[in-house]
Symmetry: C2
Subunit: 241 residues, 2 copies
DNA sequence: CGGCGTGTTGACCCGAATCAAGACCGGTGG
DNA sequence: CCACCGGTCTTGATTCGGGTCAACACGCCG
């Protein structure tokens, strides 16, 4: 079984002007003059590790933008089978769906700070500031592109290729201004990675071990992976092993 | 290897007012007064079975809306592995991506008629008619939801469950005004279905055979599936076999 | 009628799942 | 400080579902 955690979290008024994550957020493209309007309809929510922002079946009232921290999107089948749909961090947004209820749960993998918008409030703004709508739509299209990549990965790649693809993706997502280039911090467990890639945690562990043995990566403390041979990792991820 | 077909197709001026697919299209929500503007930036394209509307790597200049016919979206790995991302028909739209090049190919599975928009032209309209942008964005979000379902299906379901899920999906997508309720017309091959579900064509064939033997479906001519026991099919698709 | 693309079915094999044991690591309390 | 404990990770042995290989059936078209 999988722990669901406790829904909840603290709330406080947002101040978009001082938002540290601004350049990577939904509001990235907006001129400062629009911020007050945005400020009026947004609020900050903080969660502790293990809490859920929402779970499958909740009415899809809100859209969120991650300010700081990590979270995991997942779906659970009746019999406990779990599929992880993504790992999100600063700048990512979530909660947008065409359906009236979320089909996913969003759980904090660390202490988490997010910016929350009521969807209907957002609709109002969108008509007034088309540029915002465009940015919003563009981010949805980006998520779609990411999901297409994921479908290819889990539909047609073997275990080693999937794990390598996962590492390449995490590598590429890291911001350029990065304290530790060449090494990746993975806040999620092996089970989370396995449920993301359609594998078991044992298979993920074995894939890491193989890449370690081949000198492609090295591992400190299980959650910090050092990429020793970037080119070879990419080859592995594409099946040119 | 997989045949790529020939890119091409005939062109003619669109007349949105008389479009038979209107209620299911991108333009569904628009008042008649907006149609001339839409008309001005759209054109109809017709393709024959086997032709490609676009292939991976083409610049993503256009967005399309299917008026009539079927098509298949797929991605090809260097070594020939193929993943099918979807089967589209009347009302579906395609070609929208956050990237400058398509990461998919779109091939006609039958003679095909689509409505084509240049993306930048569309951007202009979107600012003028926010309702249109909303409809457009809503359809993108719908595609994203569909992809999340697909990820769960291929990541966590076994062969029989995947094929059952595929049939349930095709069943639900059929319009209410339907000449043959309880039976599904599948224009794609077993290999296409296999590449959609992350299986082999043999495994798909065996799954159909098992469902036939159990009295859940019957099959005429391989491309017409009759659903004999809808409830049991849904159970199968969810792993309550 | 023959040929080819597509679909079905069977025999066998292999990669990842499952089952199981032990190692590691961080946190807690004596 | 160290002993203990629970959660996580690694590694090995075995099993099994679906892939692979192969033969044949079907249906369509020339």
């Amino acid at each position: 079984m999988v722990s669901i955690g406790v829904r909840g979290g603290g709330y406080s008024q947002a101040t978009c002007l001082s938002c540290p994550a601004r350049p990577r957020m939904l509001c990235a493209g907006l001129d400062d003059e629009f911020l007050p309007a945005l400020n009026a309809i947004s609020s900050k929510v903080t969660l502790e590790k293990g809490e859920n922002l929402f779970i499958e079946g909740d009415r899809s009232t809100y859209v969120y933008n991650v300010i700081e921290g990590f979270l995991r999107l997942s779906r659970l089948g009746q019999d406990g089978r779990r599929q992880v749909l993504g790992f999100l961090t600063t700048g990512d947004y979530l909660g947008h769906t065409s359906r009236s209820e979320y089909t996913l749960s969003a759980e904090a993998l660390s202490d988490l700070k997010v910016c929350r918008f009521r969807r209907e409030d957002l609709q109002g703004l969108l008509s007034t500031y088309p540029r915002f709508e465009r940015q919003f739509h563009h981010m949805t299209a980006g998520l779609l592109d990411d999901m297409l990549d994921l479908v290819f990965t889990i539909g047609r790649k073997n275990a080693l290729e999937r794990v390598a693809s996962f590492l390449v993706y995490q590598m590429d997502r890291k911001s350029v201004s990065d304290t530790m280039p060449g090494s990746i911090w993975l806040p999620m467990t092996r089970a989370d990675i396995a449920d993301f890639l359609g594998l078991t945690l044992e298979t993920v562990s074995r894939a890491f071990s193989r890449m370690k043995k081949n000198g492609v990566i090295s591992i400190d403390h299980a959650h910090t992976i050092n990429i020793l041979d970037r080119g070879r990792l990419i080859d592995l991820s594409e099946g040119n092993g």
